[in-house]
Structures are given as structure tokens and as C-alpha cells.
């Protein structure tokens, strides 16, 4: 019960060595955050569970691919979960107008909650420098898994306009990011 809590990165390293106990501890430590993310993006419990299963099998097999110098373990895992959720959505889009009752709080104030890591603070700072519309488009796309056309419908703007917000916003984000990091 009083086992010390190991860092996610340590648990990933042990998982890469085939330690199933570490893998289970990794699941316990990260599953609520990852499931919340999957649910946020997918808004369907059954899909979120499928995506979690796929993702954890991938973590088991590919834990050795994790590179700690490139970011946090939870960030690596969350990116994989989100990518799989997006894959799922693009294969089988949600029905338009489907009620969102299974979605957790869609984090309208996500930026202010981004205070946990240095990377998050840096990204929040860069996002804060964007114009209102690109910033909103990027965060909506990220948290709700919206495609270009879903985003256009959501914010009531022409597709081309939304695309250019996203492109402009992402490229400015990168410029800001590289400035604060001193290159990639």
C-alpha cells in the first residue's frame, strides 16, 4: 500500500523491459488522465475504451520507443491516445448534432489550467500571443477533435477562413516556440 510512487518515465522504462507489474502501475498512474482526454475528444465511452485498449497495447509493445529527452512520459502517452482517437473520428465521424452528454467538461478555460509543467506554461504563453480566432480554432480542434469542416460549422465561418486561421496560428505558434527554445 505504501509503495513509493514512481515517475511515469521510470514506469515506462520498466515496461520496456517487460515488467508487467510496472505496466499495471503505469496504467493506474495515467489511465484517468488519458481516459479523460479520450472521452473529451471522442465523446463516446465505448470508443474511448477501445482507444485506451489499443493505446495501452501500443505502450506495452513500444515503451522502448519513448525518448525522455523529447518530453514527458505522460505527454508521449497522451499524444498517442489522442492520435488514435483522431484516427477513429476521421474513419467514422460523429453524427452531427449528437448530444454531448458523455463528454466531460470540455475545458472552456483550458489555457488557465495549463500551468502544470514548464512546457505547458511555455505553450500557453505562445498561444496567448495568437489572435483570438486562430487561438480558439486551434484549442477547439485540439480538445474536441474537430476537423477543418467541423470547425467551420462550429464557429460559423467559411472553410477557407478557418483553414487559414489554423495555418497562420500553427506557424506563429512554432515561431514563438522556437524563439523561446532557441531552435528545435
Amino acid at each position: 500500500m505504501a509503495a513509493p510512487e514512481l515517475a511515469v518515465e521510470t514506469l515506462i522504462a520498466r515496461t520496456a523491459l517487460g515488467d508487467r507489474g510496472a505496466f499495471q502501475a503505469l496504467y493506474r498512474a495515467t489511465a484517468p488522465r488519458l481516459f479523460g482526454l479520450a472521452l473529451l475528444v471522442l465523446r463516446r465511452r465505448d470508443w474511448a475504451e477501445d482507444v485506451m485498449q489499443e493505446a495501452f497495447l501500443a505502450f506495452w509493445r513500444r515503451a522502448g520507443d519513448f525518448r525522455p529527452e523529447r518530453g514527458s512520459g505522460l505527454g508521449w502517452m497522451a499524444t498517442i491516445v489522442r492520435n488514435r482517437a483522431i484516427d477513429r473520428l476521421r474513419r467514422e465521424p460523429r453524427v452531427a448534432g449528437e448530444p454531448d452528454r458523455e463528454a466531460p467538461d470540455p475545458a472552456p478555460d483550458a489555457l488557465s489550467r495549463l500551468v502544470q509543467s514548464d512546457e505547458a506554461r511555455r505553450l500557453a504563453g505562445c498561444l496567448g500571443e495568437l489572435d483570438e480566432q486562430p487561438r480558439r480554432a486551434i484549442t477547439l480542434a485540439f480538445y474536441e477533435g474537430l476537423s477543418h469542416s467541423e470547425l467551420a460549422a462550429r464557429v460559423g465561418a467559411p472553410l477557407g477562413t478557418v483553414k487559414s486561421w489554423i495555418r497562420r496560428g500553427l506557424m506563429r505558434l512554432k515561431a514563438c516556440f522556437e524563439q523561446t527554445e532557441g531552435g528545435r
Binding site: G21, L37, R61, A120, L170
Partner: protein, 233 residues
């Protein structure tokens, strides 16, 4: 599709990582990505750049049954969409247990006094994480013999079949049924052992009475471990 324009590559990689690409454009990009390591590196860069956003997602406890599903799929990945070519084709699945088992295998074999007198050429300790199940297998290629010794009796019903995974993606070869409780030593045809790769492994699967009807494993793997060559000098 090859995307040549640098700006275009960067923008598409960013949009793919964000997830907004859709339809034919997304499919075309995914195809290009599979054949273009430079493009994949850009997608990875963008994934890393955006990853901190995930920190703001709320925590929601998944149903308790989800872990059971994941654990079951580890033992028997054929039930998931990831394993399309059969569980045995994924040698990556076998290797992790092996890393842990490698040292233990040699120590156990020495402890059991098997190494010097029987002069085995290979040894394997088969185990399953989360269970005490362990089988020590020693192989003597010169005598074409194999000794199988379960350290803990296998529970339950069904036939236990031992498989050689020659490695390098080659299909498993049956080494016959083993006892759930007793140590067994027997001859194994030498041709079974040809073409062993460095990542060769042994595994035991649960099969219908009489063994696998197909010549390939059909049931769940109950334990596995790498086949380690012993150096004699």
C-alpha cells in the same frame, strides 16, 4: 504522393498532428507519411509541441473492466485488431519477458545443476508476468534432446504444447506436448532446430486435447521466454 514544397510539408504535418485534416487530403498525407521519414519527424515535432495541451484534460476514472481487457489482450493479442498476422508473428511480444528472464534463465539452469552434466547448448526459462508459472527448458543440440521441467505445476485442464519460435519472423514449430506437472526428457528431430535466429524463443500454449489441430498455436500463450545459447569454452 510526394509533397515537395517545404512550407506545404510543414503546414500539412502541423494540421495532421493537430488532427484537422480530413477525407482524401488526410488519407493522401497518411500515405505520404508512411514513406517519408522526414515528414514523420515533422509530425512528431508537432505532436511534441502540442502535447502539453493534454495536461488540461480532465481526469475521468475508466471502468474497472478496462484493465482486464487490456491484460487479456496482452496474453492473447489475436483478439485485438493489432495482431492481424497471428500472435506468434509479433516477436516483439515475446521479447520483453525475455529481457527479464535472460539472467534468471542462466542462474536457474546453474542452480538446478543442469548446465555442466547435461552440457546443454541452449536454455530457456518460460514464465508469465503476474504468475509464479515457470518452466525450465534445456536443449542439447548435439544429442537432439530436450528436457522440460515445470517448476510449478500448471493449473487447469487442456493440453500444453511447447513451441519453438525460430525468430526473425519465422512461424512456430511444435516441440510436442508437455506434462503439466512432471519433468520430461526426450529426443526432438534435429531439423526442428535449423535456422535459429538471435531472437529465438520458446513458448507454451494451451491447446485442445491431443495438441493443436493446425500445426500452429491456436490457444493462449501461458508462458514464454527467450532461447539462450550457452557458450562452452
Amino acid at each position: 504522393m510526394t509533397i515537395r514544397d517545404e512550407d506545404e510539408r510543414e503546414q500539412l504535418a502541423a494540421e495532421y498532428a493537430l488532427g484537422t485534416l480530413e477525407g482524401a487530403e488526410r488519407e493522401a498525407f497518411a500515405r505520404a507519411l508512411a514513406a517519408d521519414a522526414g515528414l514523420a519527424a515533422r509530425v512528431e515535432f508537432w505532436g511534441r509541441l502540442l502535447a502539453p495541451l493534454t495536461e488540461a484534460a480532465p481526469a475521468v476514472d475508466p471502468p474497472a473492466a478496462l484493465w482486464n481487457r487490456i491484460e487479456a489482450a496482452l496474453v492473447h493479442p489475436a483478439s485485438t485488431s493489432l495482431a492481424t498476422a497471428g500472435w506468434w508473428s509479433s516477436l516483439l511480444f515475446w521479447r520483453p519477458v525475455g529481457v527479464v528472464g535472460a539472467l534468471a534463465a542462466v542462474l536457474l539452469a546453474l542452480y538446478l545443476g543442469l548446465a555442466p552434466p547435461a552440457a546443454p547448448t541452449h536454455v530457456a526459462v518460460l514464465n508469465a508476468e503476474g504468475s509464479r508459472q515457470a518452466v525450465v527448458v534445456t536443449v542439447n543440440l548435439a544429442r537432439a534432446s530436450i528436457a522440460v521441467r515445470p517448476l510449478v505445476p500448471f493449473p487447469g485442464a487442456g493440453a500444453l504444447e511447447l513451441w519453438l519460435l525460430p525468430g526473425a519472423g519465422a512461424p512456430p514449430r511444435s516441440l510436442g506436448l508437455i506434462s503439466a506437472t512432471a519433468a520430461v526428457e526426450r529426443k526432438v528431430a534435429t531439423d526442428r532446430w535449423q535456422g535459429l535466429a538471435a531472437d529465438a524463443a520458446l513458448a507454451v500454449s494451451l491447446e485442445p486435447a491431443g495438441g493443436s489441430p493446425t500445426g500452429l498455436p491456436t490457444g493462449p500463450v501461458v508462458c514464454s521466454g527467450p532461447l539462450l545459447a550457452l557458450a562452452h569454452r
